[in-house]
Amino acid sequence: MNKIEELAYRNSHTKQRRIVNVSVFGLIILFSLGTAIPLFSILFELIGKGSHQINLDFFTQVVPSSVDAMLAKQKGQPIPGGILNGITGTLMMVGLASLFSIPMGLFGGIYLSKNRDKKMASLVRSLADILQGVPSIICGILVYMWVVTTLHSFSALAGAAALSIMMIPMISRSTEEALNMLPNTIMEAGLALGGSYTSVMFRILLPSAFGAVFTGILLSISRVMGETAPLMVTALGATYINWNPTSPTSAVSLLIWEFYNDPNLVGLIWSTALLLMILILCLNLLAKYISARWRIN
């Protein structure tokens, strides 16, 4: 068929083309809905199996010992205790990691945004991207080698260090993207008024990009909150509430692993997992809300 005949064929088979169009469109909608199904089914399972275990004790008591749990199970009572040591541990380690990685990530992002064309910046950018792809367990064992053996003990500091290694490239890249999205004219206007680059950056550019920068930070926090493998080899875990950064510490994600391994405490898995999911969901929703409200008109 030559081109003219092909065009005539296409023009005359409009009904066929419409059917194909609608079918493809329908498939697209179906697959999009399909991507939401795993999330909804996870939430459904967790809420179904875990919500009855969440009570005030859950947030105020530490993990029960295996014996206590066994005794309670034999008596037919709900497992006593809660996961307060995990909650405080996660708070402390994610807090320490943020304290270290937010400034480093911000400055890294500023550097990458300013020196878009320079070779050194391209190298740093590539390394940050590669670092983001390094498996978290490898980050964990590296920190084991550097921090745990140096301090001669597992510690919250080591756990925070491992989490920082994962957070810094994420925050750098999202800060860089946020700053690059700003129109160039704002920076030029600030510099044309005689301001130094530093003052323009901190007084005009970062506040203007605040929504996107903050969102990037929130998302990186929500990502590391659920990390388990690196914490297993750096923070180890603890059965008591620990605020000492140089001692082993528990974490919510570590507790899920511990409950999985202990047949007496298995019942607590669902509630712990539900709590973790809710925390992460809340952070993500907060990030979306902020990025929607802070958009520059």
């Binding site: 206007a189 510099l191 005689g194 130094s196 003052s199 203007s208 008109n297």
Partner: protein, 297 residues
């Protein structure tokens, strides 16, 4: 200088009683507009303020954007720089307030003198304080209120002002651009509700608050509607009493309406520079004549 000693040879800058802050003290003898315009067209009696000698700017080693431009801008005059797209007029303007320093690939050669001092040797921040710039698209800082926008130059330079100084400066600057009556009830609000013309006037107020000697305007009305354009052109005619204005425009009508001197550039070279009336009625170079009659644009 007594006003009754005013003659045709008196330079314009000595006629007005202008104090150091640029405020007009009342003249004792009213000077008619006709006399003023004849002074303006006689540029030999005006003081040169910005002198470009052999200025060349190149974006890449092979191609020069502007080649060996020799040009003098006179004090308290409006000079229009005209030419077809790509002729280098914006490049010329941005060289005067050292904007090319921001991009390492841009090379600038030649000399620029500001009131006798070498502009290329002074610190870039000082150069930009003395030479203000207004950009093509209005760009008020999005996270700052109108008041903060006007004062942003001081904030960026780390200069602190007392509350009364701030209030006075904001009011004076906004009055000078004819915006005070329109926004005096909302100076604490962000400027996003302002129209394009009002935003551009806010940007001019922000630049003028720094009391520059020279005001560079890069096609300031090309993004605005005709009414706003008209208001800004009237503003420029008022501003030239206190400031020296260099305006890049691709609108020949605008150049004819508001400028005293005009420079015509083509393919990076300065082709002709003369009194506006003389150039428009009797251009000396064929290329100027072709441009003015619309053979190319």
């Amino acid at each position: 200088m007594h006003n009754d000693m005013v003659t045709e040879q008196t330079p314009l800058s000595q006629i007005d009683n202008i104090d150091k802050m640029g405020n007009n003290i009342d003249r004792k003898i009213p000077i008619s507009r006709d006399l003023l315009s004849s002074f303006n067209s006689n540029f030999e009696h005006s003081k040169p303020l910005v002198t470009l000698t052999d200025l060349s700017v190149s974006y890449s080693p092979e191609k020069k954007a502007i080649k060996n431009v020799n040009l003098t801008f006179y004090e308290h005059l409006v000079t229009a720089v005209m030419g077809p797209s790509g002729c280098g007029k914006s490049t010329l303007l941005r060289a005067i307030n050292r904007m090319h320093d921001l991009y390492s690939t841009i090379q600038t050669e030649g000399e620029i003198l500001l009131d006798g001092k070498d502009l290329m040797k002074m610190p870039a921040m000082e150069a930009r304080r003395r030479v203000g710039m207004v950009f093509q698209r209005p760009n008020p800082f999005p996270t700052m209120s109108i008041e903060e926008n006007v004062l942003s130059g001081y904030r960026l330079n780390g200069i602190s002002l007392s509350k009364s100084e701030r209030k006075e400066l904001v009011q004076t600057s906004l009055e000078n651009v004819g915006l005070w009556d329109e926004v005096k009830d909302s100076i604490k609000k962000r400027g996003s509700f302002l129209s394009g013309g009002q935003q551009q006037r806010l940007c001019i107020a922000r630049t003028l608050a720094m009391r520059p000697e020279v005001l560079l305007m890069d096609e300031p009305t090309s993004a605005l509607d005709p009414i706003s354009t008209n208001k800004i052109e009237e503003l420029i005619l008022q501003l030239k009493e206190k400031y020296t204005i260099i305006i890049v425009t691709h609108n020949m009508g605008q150049a004819a309406r508001i400028s005293d001197m005009s420079a015509f550039m083509y393919l990076g070279e300065l082709i002709e520079y003369d009194d506006t009336n003389k150039m428009f009625t009797n251009p000396k170079d064929k290329r100027t004549e072709d441009y003015l009659t619309g053979v190319f644009s």
